[in-house]
């Protein structure tokens, strides 16, 4: 409450603009300050259906907390922690109040994928009065929240509670259903559904293309994390999926997924090392995650690039050949390009390698749907203010559109899509684009001159 009271309640709160789903941050902070925790959670839920998730996994330091005016002289209000607190309080108190649902429209929406984007759209459209069915390929909801983000960062019961709320609101969940292999999107539109949202995620792991990547003991981060999180291999033999037994796991990559993999390896009883080809400042992972990884004793081999994975005669991993890198000129991304230092090759002994260098979009839906325009990276092309694809009535958001981004940006796109889909379902048209922002700044400049 003391922390919440630090909020200055700015007239034009920058934090709200900094939030991809525009949570009314000053209002919920004020409610916490007054001790109205349940009301605070409900205030957040007006715009964000998954606060307990976002309170844990959002990069607040890059969003709402970054632009908080207090950062000019002090530290920002701990918005993320307070969001998490409010949501947990509401859930633990058993006081989850369902938002009111608008008058039913009789329209049917299909959502492909029960990940963050899909859940967000489901929440918004059920409240708007439409019938919503979420189709999920795996046996449990959550998408990357379930199979990817480990329990120690986002406990499964939190995802289940948020999904339960959506079920209570009337969202229908169908598991074990692979859109494209079961019904395709054109079949859905020709059948019961008036609109479709594609939130199928970035489900096709990338590999570096170096020798030895198909050795036994080399895993995509998706596989490594799915075994541990979704299939609960760490509770083998109570669960039947075998765990990965390794004395030393080396993870390739510098993003949040690499941190999750490396920290999971520690918890599975392995020594854990991260190999990343750039420097620490350039790691895409959140500072907080890198910090946790370091504190837990994960070894960082920075400015190091794997060139070959080494195996024995049984085709099992025994090590990795690497080369040291140094930073050269900036590349397209503005980060200094790592260049190999000649003659600096060395070997790391390890018996498992986790490749956490990103994902490509899963091709299953584009393959089974004509007319869906894709970028040259295979992501789905959408219109920015509606998230509509090149096919009428079909919208998309999350990693299938942006490649690889955050949970909250997927939800932000879900929000935009849900608004447009609601408009489309009611009127048969997409909403007009927002007017271009007026240029008032020039005037004030002139005055100064």
């Amino acid at each position: 409450m003391i922390e919440a009271a630090r909020c200055l309640a700015c007239k034009k709160p920058k934090c709200v603009a900094g939030c991809p789903v525009n949570i009314d941050i000053p209002s919920f902070l004020h409610l916490i300050e007054e001790g109205k925790f349940v009301e605070a959670a409900q205030k957040i839920k007006e715009t964000n259906p998954l606060p307990a998730v976002c309170g844990r996994v959002c990069p607040q330091e890059e969003q709402c907390e970054k632009v908080c005016v207090l950062t000019i002289k002090h530290e920002s209000v701990a918005i993320g922690r307070l969001e998490r607190f409010a949501a947990d309080y509401e859930r633990n108190a058993g006081k989850i109040k369902l938002p009111e649902i608008a008058e039913k429209t009789g329209k049917n929406v299909a959502i492909v994928g029960a990940g963050p984007a899909g859940l967000c759209v489901a929440g918004d459209l059920i409240i708007a009065g439409h019938e919503v069915t979420v189709f999920e390929a795996l046996q449990k909801p959550g998408g990357v929240l379930m199979y990817g983000i480990p329990d120690f960062r986002l406990p499964e019961e939190i995802i289940n509670a948020e999904v339960q709320t959506l079920s209570d609101l009337g969202v229908n969940f169908r598991y074990d259903y692979v859109v494209g292999r079961n019904d395709t999107i054109p079949e859905m539109l020709a059948g019961d559904f008036d609109a479709v949202f594609i939130g199928s995620g970035a489900g096709l792991p990338s590999f570096q293309g170096i020798p030895g990547e198909n050795l036994i003991g080399v895993f995509s981060a998706n596989e490594y994390l799915t075994r541990a999180n979704l299939m609960k291999a760490y509770r083998f033999p109570e669960y039947d999926t075998p765990p990965i037994e390794a004395g030393h796991v080396t993870t390739i990559g510098g993003g949040n997924v690499a941190m999750d993999s490396a920290r999971t390896a520690l918890r599975l009883g392995s020594r854990s090392t991260i190999v990343y080809r750039r420097a620490r400042e350039q790691m895409p992972a959140r500072d907080e995650e890198i910090h946790h990884a370091e504190e837990e004793g994960i070894k960082f081999n920075l400015l190091t690039n794997p060139t070959k994975i080494l195996g024995n005669s049984r085709r099992e991993v025994i090590g990795m050949e690497c080369i040291r890198m140094e930073l050269g000129e900036p590349d397209d991304s503005g980060r200094r390009r790592p260049v190999p230092i000649e003659g600096s090759e060395f070997e790391i002994e390890c018996d498992a390698v986790v490749v956490a260098i990103g994902n490509k979009p899963n091709p299953l839906i584009p393959q089974t749907m004509e007319g869906l325009e894709l970028t040259r990276w295979g992501t789905v092309v959408t219109e920015e203010h509606t998230m509509q694809t090149s096919v009428e009535g079909v919208y998309a958001g999350g990693d299938i559109v942006s490649g690889a981004a955050t949970v909250i940006s997927a939800m932000g796109q879900g929000k935009v899509a849900a608004r447009a889909m609601d408009h489309y379902l009611r009127t048969g048209k997409n909403p007009d684009p927002p007017p271009p922002p007026p240029p008032p700044k020039e005037k004030s400049k002139k005055k100064k001159e």
Binding site: N182, L204, P205, D240, P242
Partner: protein
């Protein structure tokens, strides 16, 4: 939940399991598979679709009892339920009138060749079906083979039923006699599929094999099922399961399939 409709022991270690899964049956095509979890703690295990009935909403698998997951499955009786069935998965087989098609089935492939043969026959092909087993009493589905085959050849390793030898040996004999074969489909253990590929290569007969690596999600998300096909890494679950058998790295497939054998053996003790 998915109800078990039938469980019939077809050989001492193989069961024909029929499971109610209307969404899978409705869309199934030759060459595809389904992933099954017996209960919420089970592994996700891929099984080739051996048959399906759209009207009854059922699918049929041949399940070889080889470890914990498969023995959990075959212990179920009609009326019991399995927790999850996902499918159909994988690319459907390319179907055309190729001329004469030879099918080679072994192990669970004795069931796996059935949909392949049926669609190939329907597309106008002459179909010769070679089914191999260790000994007498390990063949089944004869009536099914006869329904789509112009010729059925049964072989046993010890000669106790049909011709002595492997399916591929008899195929070779036929090729030497000058029998024209335009396409070969092999479904079974990696060793059998590998020797089939080795045999047909000098004859330049296009040969396709259904790869069976370890899988996890089955939709391309995890990459556990990586296989090397023609120097390229492919995901068997979304790019396959059928691949050009002449381009497959068979030794890699064999070794990758055995990745967890030690730990699994321990748990079965």
């Amino acid at each position: 939940m998915f109800r078990v409709l039938g469980n019939r022991k077809v050989t001492p270690n193989a069961h024909e399991m029929i499971v109610e899964a209307p969404e899978v049956a409705r869309k199934a095509q030759a060459g595809q598979f389904a992933l099954l979890m017996v209960n919420e703690h089970s592994e996700r295990i891929p099984y080739t679709l051996s048959d399906w009935d759209k009207e009854a909403g059922s699918v049929t698998f041949i399940v070889l009892e080889v470890g914990k997951s498969t023995s959990d499955f075959v212990r179920l009786q009609p009326g019991d339920e399995v927790a999850h069935v996902t499918g159909p998965l994988g690319m459907p087989l390319e179907v055309d009138n190729f001329g004469t098609v030879a099918l080679i089935g072994g192990c669970y492939g004795l069931g796996g060749v059935v949909p392949v043969g049926r669609t190939m026959k329907a597309a106008g092909n002459r179909v010769i079906t070679f089914v191999e087993a260790r000994m007498e009493g390990m063949h089944y589905y004869l009536d099914k083979y006869e329904s789509f085959s112009d010729e059925v050849v049964q072989t046993t390793t010890d000669g106790s039923n049909g011709i002595k030898g492997h399916g591929v040996d008899i195929l070779e004999a036929r090729l030497k006699e000058g029998v024209q074969v335009d396409r070969v489909f092999a479904v079974g253990c990696p060793f059998m599929m590998m020797i089939t590929a080795q045999l047909t290569q000098p004859y330049e007969i296009k040969t396709f094999a259904a790869l069976n690596p370890i899988m996890l999600d089955g939709t391309g998300m995890c990459g556990a099922c990586r296989c090397t096909v023609g120097e390229e890494t492919k995901f068997a679950c979304v790019d396959g399961p059928f691949f050009d058998a002449h381009l497959v790295d068979w030794h890699e497939l064999r070794d990758r399939r055995a990745a967890y054998i030690r730990i699994e053996r321990d748990v079965c003790k």
